[in-house]
């Protein structure tokens, strides 16, 4: 089975280390791992390290292969990275943008041979139920539709690993939920999904596992109900919150105010 794991990963930007030895046990196909933590904890940096956008010390294994030696363009078809938002002024329709991604993926052998790229693009768009907006200019789409267009591009080449950097941060509640449901179905078809999420309730509901990052280190990892405890919320986010699980098994976080250690620090 092709699982993704990180062992003692150090990474950062031009002389500024951000990750100080991040390790993650196997994320297996079909699983969604949510990365969460306060601002500047290094969540996006973990994604960029896996995606190959940063020089990395340590090992990142995908199945039997250490992928840290591959350049990002050599990871095409295996690992797909979806940045937070599409740029402004794209000037392409959804179908064209997917076709553009397919033309590149085709050069790396990540497309289905013997089938025209146009048919592959149309199939991908149909599978994601984007038929209605397929020929609309991306610039004219709503935030939720834009993210779905970006997802269609990211799924080109049928990647084993899908990396999503705060995909829901600009979406309203309904579209957050809809987008993450699609991600669930992508995972269900055998993809490893690593997603950065700020919304803890959303992360708890939609992911199989949660990893909490703080100051470039993993401080907790496991099932959402185990990880998101009152202590972790106080230690990492500096908030005092009551955490309960309701009858349906959903995690409820009731924020009461700043945590004791934050208040203590302010008094000092």
């Amino acid at each position: 089975m092709t699982a993704l794991s990180l062992r003692d990963v150090h990474a950062g930007y031009a002389g500024k280390p951000v990750l100080h030895g991040v390790s993650l046990p196997d994320v297996t196909p079909g699983q969604i791992l949510a990365l969460t933590g306060p601002n500047a904890a290094g969540k996006s940096t973990v994604l960029k390290a896996i995606g190959g956008f940063l020089p990395v010390r340590g090992t990142i294994m995908l199945g039997p292969d250490d992928i840290t030696r591959l350049k990002p363009f050599q990871r095409a078809g295996k690992i797909s990275y979806m940045p937070q938002a599409l740029p402004r002024g794209v000037g392409l329709n959804v179908f064209e943008s997917v076709l553009a991604a397919l033309r590149i993926a085709g050069k790396h052998g990540a497309t289905i041979s013997g089938l025209s790229l146009e048919r592959q693009a149309a199939a991908l768009i149909e599978n994601l139920d984007l038929g209605d907006i397929a020929l609309s200019n991306i610039d004219t789409l709503s935030g939720g539709q834009k993210q779905m267009a970006a997802l269609a591009q990211a799924l080109v080449g049928n990647p084993s690993v899908l990396l999503l950097d705060e995909p829901t941060s600009a979406l309203d509640l309904r579209h957050q939920d809809e987008f993450m449901r699609v991600i669930r179905s992508v995972a269900a078809s055998g993809t490893i999904v690593v997603v950065v999420l700020h919304e803890l309730a959303l992360a708890a509901r939609m992911s199989d596992r949660i990893a909490v990052l703080s100051k470039g280190r993993i401080v907790a990892e496991g099932l959402p109900v185990e990880v998101l405890s009152r202590d972790i919320l106080a230690d990492v986010w500096g908030i005092d919150a009551e955490v309960t699980v309701n009858a349906r098994g959903s995690l409820l976080i009731d924020v009461l105010g700043p945590s004791r250690n934050v208040i203590k620090k302010e008094i000092e």
Partner: protein, 360 residues
């Protein structure tokens, strides 16, 4: 919903077939747009050849183009040694600068970029100024060739310098722009310094060279530029899938499988070849490289497979238009086309920005 694709999953529904059919229609429409642009370019090429102070009629020009012996000696010289090379030069320079412009805008992810943003034309002007002021000459080549050759060498050299500086800082597009602008100011200062110490006659020549003029066209330099354009344009077009992907964002493009550093390097080499050759022969002609791609974008969209040829044709159309306007506005003055191109380009450019502002 199954998202994974496999042979069996690619049984397209009605919707999928409809999307493909509509996409095909859109592609055909764009192909027709390109043909229209080409037709306009050819019409303007002919108009440019016909326009001028001597009384050469359209009929005589047509006859002369079909059969050179139908013209008397003077008319044949005017057509074949003056008008035709100048008109072809306008088309080629416009195409070269606008193609360089569209690549620059995509690669730097900046709609205000042009082939001149990174100092290529300032470097060429400095090279020309050095040649004019020192008055040196290359054996077996005329003095004019030294000016062009020096302009070319300086332009290419500036891109190499820029690439070196940027690679020291990791090769990002923002550093490329910053270093490029720094080079523009340095080269301009160096030109001023040269002018300060040069004789009045040299200063006049340098200023005139920098204005951009198609009258320097002859068959030799038209052939050289034609060769460069014919080789480089298809290479630009071959990179169009990568350029379209890059337009969706740098990290996204890398994730699709684009080697962005390599793409940027080769793109800069193409841009510098096109720009340096064009500028070396006709001097600085501004705004074509900036405005041409934007006009093409409005007509045809961002798919670079269409955008690159459309930019080349728009650039040619713009410069031919400027050349015709220059001849019509001031019939006997031989107004440098660079001045007219900028005068026409500025209002077009302002209108574009205003339109864009309204759209957002």
């Amino acid at each position: 919903m199954t998202v994974h694709q496999s042979q069996s999953a690619v049984m397209l529904g009605e919707n999928g077939e409809r999307i493909i059919a509509r996409h095909h229609r859109l592609s055909i429409k764009r192909g027709i747009m390109l043909l229209c642009l080409l037709t306009v370019a050819l019409l303007l090429l002919f108009t440019d050849i016909v326009t001028g102070p001597s009384g050469l009629t359209a009929h005589a020009v047509l006859g002369g183009l079909m059969d050179p012996t139908s013209l008397d000696r003077i008319d044949a010289v005017i057509l074949y040694d003056v008008r035709l090379p100048a008109a072809l030069m306008a088309l080629l320079v416009g195409a070269a600068l606008a193609t360089a412009g569209v690549e620059m805008q995509t690669v730097l992810d900046n709609p205000l970029a042009s082939p001149f943003t990174l100092g290529v034309s300032s470097a060429a002007a400095l090279g020309a100024a050095v040649a004019i002021v020192t008055g040196a000459s290359i054996p077996f080549l005329g003095a004019n060739w030294l000016v062009s050759a020096n302009a070319f060498v300086f332009a290419i050299g500036s891109v190499a310098l820029l690439q070196l500086l940027t690679s020291l800082r990791g090769g990002g597009s923002e550093h490329l722009v910053l270093f490029g602008i720094a080079l523009v100011f340095s080269f301009n200062a160096a030109i001023s310094l040269l002018q300060f110490y040069a004789s009045a006659q040299s200063v006049q020549q340098v200023v005139f060279w920098m204005m951009g003029n198609l009258q320097r066209a002859d068959w030799t330099n038209v052939s050289v530029l034609a060769l460069v354009t014919v080789v480089v344009l298809p290479l630009s077009w071959l990179a169009s899938p990568q350029l379209t992907a890059l337009h969706l964002g740098e990290e996204r493009a890398m994730s699709f499988g684009v080697d962005v550093r390599r793409l940027r390097l080769f793109s800069l080499i193409r841009v510098s070849l096109l720009t340096a050759t064009a500028v070396a022969f006709v001097g600085t002609i501004g705004f074509i490289g900036l405005v041409g791609p934007h006009i093409a974008r409005m007509i045809i969209g961002e798919d670079h497979r269409f955008l690159i040829p459309a930019s080349a044709l728009s650039g040619g159309v713009l410069l031919l238009g400027a050349s015709i306007a220059a001849k019509l506005l001031v019939p006997d003055a031989n107004l440098p086309v660079g001045i007219v191109a900028a005068l026409v380009g500025v209002p077009v450019f302002v209108a574009l920005i205003l339109r864009q502002g309204r759209r957002r």
